[in-house]
């Protein structure tokens, strides 16, 4: 096994397992699909867990890389690799997936084969997004994931599933198409400068792009990622999708899919376009939108009658924290943001699982239909309380560590923003506690609720690991922080260095350059040199 984890093939194996599992689901009989899926996801988990320890600390280099030519004519390669950020995302995915598969056992009653196959394909897509080191490959995985999610919402969802699925699809597809254009433009820039076509991540990192064009490309990437995150004005697909999706769909959506937006910023949008990513306008806009998301989503969450919708809005608020942390670009805020992505995956995933469990019993998501469940479902009540506390960031749970790091880091750059964001802490209590109260506390006034059974063994086994992780990360997050620190350092350094020469130079209005020279050739070399040499060096 030692050699496997030092090898190049572990990631490919990880990608292959769920895909093969999906085929297995489709090939096997209907009744065995769930077990096949569970087996595949557990196998992936078992394979990926050792990565946490074999991962080499202190280096920002990609590890376990593999690279094979795929479409040689266009410089597209199958290139995958792991760094501190993607490691955590991979583990989050492999932890969440078995749980959400197991959480669907009693929920999904029709077309089981198709459902579990969709889940597994989705998993391949998500893992692929997190390890892809080739922009084309990344885009392929990014889109692969969209399709099973669309079906999961659209086939196994609630009453308004079609509306929600289409909304989800349209929002995400709009963003990703723009991103595709930007990827092609980026590759074209690279070709202009180096004369080779390549979609390779590290090749493209070397491309230097005029500030004006950076802004454009960053916006295109950024829109795709912002929709996924989701940032404030483009978040409305999320509540609908969450509400209508089956439990597993919501869990994966909140737990993992949303992270891909932030991951996209960290991996692609920011390092590729450092000037744009640090320009005051962009940072100001995104931080402001994140801040609005934190406060506004908390407000909206507080008045939701539908438990799933409430949780959906809390996702917007939490991801607002993450975005603020990412763009504050300090060590603490970035590490906090990445940790908070993991935290949010765990606690929101757990919330959706728990709400799904009572939904299966009562077939309603309305908070008002419950009350006093603590009496009949004590374990459920205990779990919901712990998870809710994690979600509102109580110290000792994982939520606090993430939020604290984000806020303390952000405060050093944007004190006012951090102070306003901190009010989100109050609002978090203001939306989560009433929900908890109205579900598990208060009198057990409804007769339907009187006979409810507490969580069964399977459900307890689903919830328990999440509770364990909530407390573990709450009291001892250091191992997680250690794993990401080198990558975070490298990212900050790369973004700040990349931004420096451009900002320092007294270049004319970047927009003007972009207009006069859309190809950005003039800026290919430091602007201090003459235009002639710049043109010469940039010639094909």
């Amino acid at each position: 096994m030692e050699s496997l984890y030092g090898s190049h093939w572990i990631l490919t194996l990880l990608l292959a397992i769920p895909f093969l599992g999906a085929l297995g689901c489709l090939a096997g009989p209907e009744s065995r699909a769930r077990w096949t899926a569970l087996f595949a996801t557990l196998l992936a988990l078992a394979l990926s867990l050792p990565l946490f320890w074999t991962f080499q600390l202190g280096t920002a280099e990609f590890q376990n890389t593999a690279s094979l030519p795929w479409i040689e004519r266009w410089g597209i390669r199958y290139a995958v690799g792991l760094d501190g950020i993607s490691l955590l995302m991979i583990l989050l995915t492999t932890v969440i997936m078995p749980l959400s598969v197991a959480g669907s056992f009693s929920y999904i009653r029709k077309r089981e084969r198709a459902f579990y196959a969709s889940m597994l394909v989705l998993m391949t897509g998500m893992l692929g997004v997190f390890v892809a080191l080739d922009l084309f490959l990344f885009y392929v995985f990014w889109e692969i994931m969209l399709i099973p999610m669309y079906f999961i919402i659209g086939i196994w969802g609630g009453e308004r599933r079609i509306y929600s699925a289409v909304k989800f699809f349209l929002f995400t597809a709009t963003g990703s198409l723009l991103m595709l254009v930007a990827i092609v433009a980026l590759v074209y820039q690279h070709q202009l400068q180096f004369g080779v076509v390549s979609f390779g991540y590290e090749d493209l990192l070397r491309t230097s792009i005029a500030p004006g064009l950076q802004l454009l490309l960053f916006s295109a990437f950024g829109l795709a990622f912002a929709i996924k995150v989701p940032l404030f004005p483009v978040h409305t697909w999320l509540p609908d999708a969450h509400v209508e999706a089956p439990t597993a769909g919501s869990v994966v959506l909140a737990g993992i899919l949303l992270k891909m937006g932030v991951y996209g910023f960290l991996r692609f949008a920011m390092p590729l376009f450092p000037v744009a990513a640090t320009s005051p306008t962009v940072v100001g806009t995104i931080v402001l939108l994140g801040l609005i998301g934190i406060i506004y989503a908390a407000w909206v969450a507080a008045v939701q009658p539908d438990a799933k919708k409430l949780i959906a809005y809390t996702s917007v608020a939490h991801l607002g924290f993450v975005m603020v942390g990412v763009f504050a670009l300090t060590r603490q805020s970035l590490e906090g943001a990445i940790l908070q992505m993991v935290n949010h995956g765990i606690s929101t995933g757990a919330l959706f699982l728990l709400i799904g469990m009572i939904y299966e019993r009562r077939h309603t998501r309305m908070i008002a239909d419950f009350g006093g469940l603590a009496k009949v479902m004590p374990f459920f009540a205990f779990s919901l309380t712990v998870v809710a506390l994690s979600s509102i960031g109580l110290p000792g749970t994982n939520g606090f560590v993430g939020e604290f790091l984000i806020l303390i880091g952000t405060f050093q750059r944007f004190p006012v923003v951090a102070m306003l964001a901190t009010t989100g802490v109050i609002f978090a209590a203001a939306y989560m506690l009433p929900m908890v109260q109205r579900v598990i506390l208060n009198p057990l006034s409804r007769d339907e609720n009187r006979e409810l059974k507490d969580l069964n063994r399977r459900e307890r086994w689903i919830v328990a690991p999440l509770l364990g992780l909530i407390l573990l990360i709450g009291v001892y997050p250091q191992p997680f922080l250690d794993r990401m620190s080198a990558s975070v350092d490298a990212l900050i350094e790369r973004v700040e260095l990349g931004a420096q020469p451009m900002q320092a130079s007294e270049s004319p209005d970047p927009r003007l350059i972009a207009e006069l020279d859309p190809a950005g050739r003039f800026d290919a070399t430091p602007p201090s040199e003459g235009t002639a040499t710049a043109e010469g060096s940039a010639g094909p």
Binding site: P239, Y296, A302, E335, F404, G409, P415, I426, Q437, L441
Partner: protein
Amino acid sequence: MSEAYHPILPGLILGLPLLGAALNGIGAFAWRENKTVPTIVGPLAVLGAFVVCLLNFAAMRAAAPHDPSLVPLWTWMSSGDLEIGVTLLFDQLSVLMTLIVTGVGGIIHVYSVGYMREDPGYSRYFSYLNLFIFFMLILVLGANYPVMFVGWEGVGLCSYLLIGFWYENREFSDAGKKAFIVNRIGDLGFLIAMFLMFGVFGTLDMPSIFEAAPTTLLAGGGIATAVTLFLFLGCVGKSAQIPLFVWLPDAMAGPTPVSALIHAATMVTAGVYLVARSGVLFALAPFTQAIVASVGVGTALFAASIAVQQYDIKKVLAYSTISQLGYMFVAVGVGAYTAGIFHLMTHAFFKALLFLGAGAVIHAMHHAWHETGDHGDPNDMRNYGGLRPLMPITAATMWIGTLAISGVFPFAGFFSKDEIIWEAGVRGYAVLWATALIVALLTAGYMTRLMVMTFHGANRSGESARGHLHEVPAVMWIPLAILAVLSTVGGWVQIPEVLPLPDVDLLHSWLEPVFAPAIEVASGGAVGGAHGEGLAHEAPLGGGETSWAVGGTGLALLTVIVVFWRLSRRRYLPAAESAEPSGAASLLYHKWYVDELYDRLVVRPLLAVWRGCWRIVDDRLIDGTVNGLGGVARVVGWTGSQLQTGRVSTYLLIFMIGALIILGSLAF
């Protein structure tokens, strides 16, 4: 002197309550009916911790003066410059606090065995209570602000859980929620203060901050003021001061021992502890100091005024607690940190005593009514009266507590309260001094009223119930007795030298190493003495310490006697038969309508805005825009589809026009 002090078994202090919480927590699921395990595990965990604390206290007394001892446990989070370890801090102040927490906590645990015995959630109750002790110990032992914050929010959580312990009562769970949310507003300040401190000092470790503060921060400067103001916001929330006090009276929804432990003796005093602990910072910010003292005295007066007209016995005690907390803030606000901690300690004794006594009465009333099948409010003092012969021990111990809180010599409250008032006076805060005096009289007044209504006069609980009223079992009255003793002798650790009594100076000298830096900063380094020097030796109205001490106790005693004499003749009606108070009394009875005011001015507008955000901004504006775009596409599509008439001739016409355009562009 002997060798340096090393913390003894620090892990055990925290570990025992945590273990107890875990065991009882498992018990709440696994052996819900079993009452033996919680009975043993719950109190023992705390008392065990108390013993360890005592050992530490003894060791520290024996040891040489020293810097605070740090016990690093593990790295919590380390990111860039930010290094936060789970580290415990053992110094004179924190050890004293652990003694109070585990000592009073242990007594209350024992009492709870009797009080909660018949509750179905017995095991769960002890789990929460042990967890509370655990978090409270983290709060007082935390060596850096984030760890302290863990305890800070942790006790809030336990408070939330325990207030809403009888969760099936909607009001009770509402009260818990309110407590949590209001506390969170304060916590916001704590968090921001931490962010600021990290920005300024680059660390959140208390010893480093306190060491660096005098040189890093400008005395009276903006940063020092901001940091301390934000910290104080946290204290205002946790210690129920104006304007965030509203949660504490509601918190009385919890079981009475909880009110005694959390909402009187320990948790609510955390704010005072925080200010005292951060004395160096506060000393650098005179403006904040003034705010602290003003808020403290304002709250003291305000809450006392409400307490005068309450009929719920626990509400009276709750407002009394708020008022006494105000005193403590006056003390720490004027820089008399020792006096604040002193009052914190004595208050822990006598307020716990009073609450437990009230609990005994409620317990007895509850049982009596349970037997007779009557349904009255066992908390309403209008239903009591004349209980003294029926519950002699409770009555006696509660009288001790009343005299203690009223500041009658020689009970504990006299020494601590006298010191606060005196310190305020000699430091030149005439208004504070005068108000504190008035509040002291009010305190004596409302407490005597409570005692009269409960234990004296005619019994109003009804014929049948009276036969079932009897003294509480030993497991409950023994804690009362212990606390009564403590409420009596607790003040003797610090006797002013001016009084014609044996000169005892235990507390000041004990805490001196902790507060010396703060006092040094406050006096601008000019005065080296521990306390007192450089200050006036007269109260604002003239007169020395002795005369005011004697006068104070005399006034308090006089108030007690007058109020007793007046009220014991008054005939009260049982709650069910009495009318609403009118006039000024109504205003006080309704607590100055603060809750209603908050509801109208804050809660409802906020909810309206939130709903507006959802219904208008999200549903209409954003989704409206998105769906509007979809609608535009649909309209365009519909318009286009109108060309598809189903008539072949129309198609041909359009086709021909198209062909004409293409050919025409070729031809011309």
